[in-house]
């Protein structure tokens, strides 16, 4: 029997969050953490609340903290998460809890909105599409794949302390995605908005973000590129 401990909080009835324990029979199979949550919900306690949708690491809705590490429950196998037959499941750290494992992502999305995550180009649109050389297109690899699961930003201490001012790894990865795009013309305006002491420069290179990204992306490297662009712009 796998010992699973789940963070429970219902702001309407509970004064404080608490951990609830379940003994789950996994049948000895190396299930995904999401499967275990589904079993708990179906067989033990229908009130356990979490987000999920695609169950295959595409939608980014089931970012959770499993035995202390952020990740997507649907693609995290028990063999990777469980330690000493114990599995502790908590919501993503640093964001307000709506209920149980569901967090309020408003701050996270507000930072994403701030970096203007869309192509800006004022020249008349060509008849079919704006073309890119294969080399220019390759510059977006490792950037566009982000699914905005928030695993990275909610593992970043700088984002915990200043979620309203520090853009965070996810937002900055996307900021660089548009800075690096040969079709985007707003490079200078974008950089000007990142030049303050908080938006980019609260990153201290701790690399928690790189450590948890379920898509294997590297926000720290993107942040380094932004810093270099800011330096070159000032020089």
């Amino acid at each position: 029997m796998l010992q699973v401990s789940v963070y429970r909080f219902n702001p309407e009835t509970d004064s404080a969050p608490q951990m609830q324990d379940y003994n789950v029979d996994t049948g000895g199979k190396d299930l995904m953490v999401l499967d275990v949550l589904e079993m708990i919900k179906a067989d033990y306690d229908a009130s356990v609340t979490y987000r999920r949708s695609c169950r295959e690491g595409v939608c980014g809705s089931d970012g959770l903290n499993m035995n202390g590490k952020n990740g997507l429950a649907c693609i995290t196998p028990l063999s990777q998460a469980v330690k000493n037959n114990k599995l502790v499941i908590r919501p993503l750290p640093g964001l307000p809890v709506v209920r149980d494992l569901v967090v309020d992502m408003s701050l996270f999305y507000a930072q994403y909105e701030k970096i203007e995550p869309y192509l800006q180009n004022n020249t008349p649109a060509p008849a079919i599409e704006r073309l890119q050389t294969p080399e220019d297109r390759a510059k977006l690899d490792g950037l566009y794949e982000c699914i905005l699961c928030a695993c990275c930003s909610t593992s970043c201490p700088s984002f915990w302390w200043n979620p309203d001012r520090f853009v965070g790894p996810a937002g900055l990865l996307q900021a660089y995605r548009f800075l690096a795009d040969s079709r985007d013309q707003a490079t200078d305006e974008r950089l000007a908005k990142l030049d303050d002491p908080f938006s980019v420069f609260r990153c201290h290179g701790i690399q928690n973000c790189v450590n948890v990204c379920p898509k294997g992306l590297n926000p720290t490297r993107a942040i380094g590129h932004i810093r270099t662009m800011l330096l070159n712009r000032a020089a």
Partner: protein, 119 residues
């Protein structure tokens, strides 16, 4: 509320650059002083060394680097941990009080160093 008004240069890039350059200046200064001490010093040679204009400039540069480095570093720590977000409204009292204490200390250090060099 935490604003960037109290940051060293009010610009993230400059603060970041100053932080790096000042650490290099301090490293050079401490290595130089360490080297002198390792080679053995007495009052006359120490005095003669610090009486040269070059050494005075170097010492001033080092204290300038020290003051800016300390301020940028502590400002970052204070605006991470001593905020309304972390401590509640008391954060908006604790932070400015500590910031003023730090500024005063740093200014006193700087004046003291100048006093020592030209004293």
């Amino acid at each position: 509320m935490v604003t960037q008004v109290t940051s060293f240069s009010r610009n993230g890039l400059s603060d970041w650059l100053i932080q790096r350059v000042s650490s290099l200046i301090m490293l050079a200064y401490f290595l130089f002083i360490g080297f002198q001490i390792a080679n053995g010093i007495d009052y006359t040679s120490w005095r003669a060394l610090h009486d040269t204009t070059a050494m005075k400039v170097f010492t001033l540069l080092a204290i300038g680097a020290y003051v800016s480095h300390a301020w940028i570093g502590l400002w970052t720590v204070f605006t991470d941990y001593l905020t309304e977000y972390m401590l509640g409204s008391i954060g908006n009292v604790v932070r400015p009080v500590l910031q003023i204490a730090v500024v005063l200390t740093l200014v006193v250090y700087a004046i003291w160093v100048i006093q020592v060099i030209w004293g």
